[in-house]
Symmetry: C2
Subunit: 335 residues, 2 copies
């Protein structure tokens, strides 16, 4: 049998458990030229919330009645593709289910599990979040030593890596996160120079606190949040600031989007804002993996994983991303 975590209704704002259904389905048939993957670990990411909406995006929405799309690590269970043998570890765009049938030409790649301390590193330090941090910062924003980098959602799976790579590049790093405990972790575990707690503050108070930490202005904003937090940062841009628009977690579950009102500051500061999607960098992932592996080995990069257990906990685990309960990269152990 194949347990599958289905999307059965498009969420209206914050997802509720009734939007999903855990079912037992028969084992899928092996697609011609394809694979069946036994999923072991799934990455849970804010981007999945976007795939649940039927709006124009960079990927088709998850079809109603289909298992929730997710990056997973797993083992080849059956193969009709000579490049894969049963028992091989793979990573790919699969779903929250025990077994995924991958058609010929699917997004599944072999991984060398012996090269890492634990398989989940392929979803954390070497996962899509890390690739997003690496290419978003180094390729899009192109930081120089001495510049001020501000990261929103700084304690998250992307933000915590952005801050650390920024520090490696010699930037002054400021992280914004929710709550004193996360802010402590930003400084103590991830080495940010300063942490700002956005909780319970008006956008204008937040703007003043950012100004106090970045008196010369923010040269690079790595944006994961949007809304009031982003608006507060926009009031503190340096001339020709670069903004990497990576995510807008404050908006994903909003029934009425807050948006940003300080767009004017992008004009007066001659700033640029760049939308980025990590999938565009797939051909260059190996380049990032080399650097990241070295930084991990040298102890210059610290990655946290928040691994929850069991497909039956898919819904509450997913919701940890939006309540802010997750401590590091959110992963679900399927088996």
């Amino acid at each position: 049998m194949n347990r599958r975590f289905l999307l059965v209704r498009r969420p209206n704002g914050m997802p509720v458990s009734e939007d999903f259904l855990l079912v037992e389905a028969p084992m899928p048939a092996l697609p011609p030229g394809g694979l069946i993957v036994r999923n072991h670990y799934a990455s849970l990411d804010p981007a999945q919330r976007g795939w649940m909406d039927d709006v124009p995006s960079y990927m088709p929405p998850i079809a109603l009645g289909d298992a929730v799309r997710a990056a997973t690590l797993g083992i080849v269970h059956a193969s009709d593709n000579p490049a894969f043998a049963p028992g091989d570890w793979v990573r790919g765009s699969h779903a929250l289910e025990d077994y995924t049938a991958v058609p010929a030409g699917g997004f599944t790649r072999p991984i060398d599990i012996d090269a890492v301390e634990r398989p989940t590193l392929f979803l954390s330090a070497l996962g899509g979040n890390a690739m997003t941090a690496y290419f978003g910062l180094l390729d899009v924003a192109r930081p120089r030593a001495g510049q001020t980098l501000l990261v929103t959602g700084a304690a998250g799976g992307v933000g915590s890596i952005v801050g650390q790579i920024g520090r490696i590049m010699g930037c002054r790093t400021i992280g914004i996160a929710g709550g004193p405990e996360k802010c402590r972790r930003l400084v103590d575990q991830f080495g940010f120079d300063a942490a700002i707690d956005y909780k319970g503050k008006t956008s204008s108070v937040l703007a003043s606190e950012i100004g106090a930490q970045a008196p010369g202005g923010v040269d690079i904003l790595f944006e994961n949040v949007g809304g009031d937090v982003m608006d507060a940062v926009l009031l503190n841009l340096a001339e020709r600031a670069r903004i990497v628009l990576c995510g807008l977690i404050s908006e994903y579950n909003a029934t009425g989007r807050v948006g940003i009102r300080n767009l004017w500051q992008i004009l007066v500061r001659r700033a640029t804002l760049h939308g980025m999607i990590v999938a565009d960098y797939i051909p260059r992932f190996a380049e990032a993996a080399d650097d990241i592996s070295r930084w991990l080995a040298e102890g210059r990069l610290h990655v946290e994983e928040d691994v929850q257990d069991g497909l039956e906990n898919a819904y509450p685990t997913f919701m940890r991303l939006f309540s802010g309960a997750n401590r590091g990269k959110q992963i679900l152990k399927i088996v």
Copy 2:
């Protein structure tokens, strides 16, 4: 005597006549190394509204009690600078007043009035608005033939030139403006391929109409408006669209800014948004003037001027920009 149109109170939202005062002051003294310019024509621009607010910007705000800053054309009345003689025509950052005292090192440059059909061309076809259009489109957006260019505020002093340069570059050009008469002018006088009237339409209706005119998406958005109009365009971006953020006229008089809520589309389309300020291009204005003069001579560029008369009409003339009453580049004849 020197008539001066002063800013005496910072407008709260839409400017009212009580925010200004027309006074008669004594003739200013000639600054050491500087000039006194007799102003003849002033450019009225939405940007002046921004200078009236005390918020972070690319220029200091106009001081209360000072004459409203404006680009003007005038004649040197007195000079303590050997590079200028009384009687020379000049253009510069002056003010809405009969005589401006320009300190040494001010932004005043000689102009060759004999090279043009009429002096006001230095505020229209060769003015800051035209330079904004030229460099915003050609240097920031870098259009290629066959691409779709959408211009908001398309009937205005900047937008109407952007559309025409876009057509010269071989783009499909779509203009958005307010009202059927302006839309007719976009097509008939400025040669846009399509015109869309935003008035009385919800953002989603507007988004559909844009989609119908740009089925392959908008490659370049030249943004002068912001708010709901911009949000509607964001739903129709092509992959890797470039957005030139030139102005946000819908926001300048708003007491609560509308902002934009479809920022997400910039992310999913991997678009980029660039804030631009024309002052950064001053060293390259001659380059633009050469091209524009040639296009004017060849009849490929058509520029309209809306010249109102008299410093006593400064307030109603300025307000024409926000009511949409202006027909072409708004100019005030001072004398």
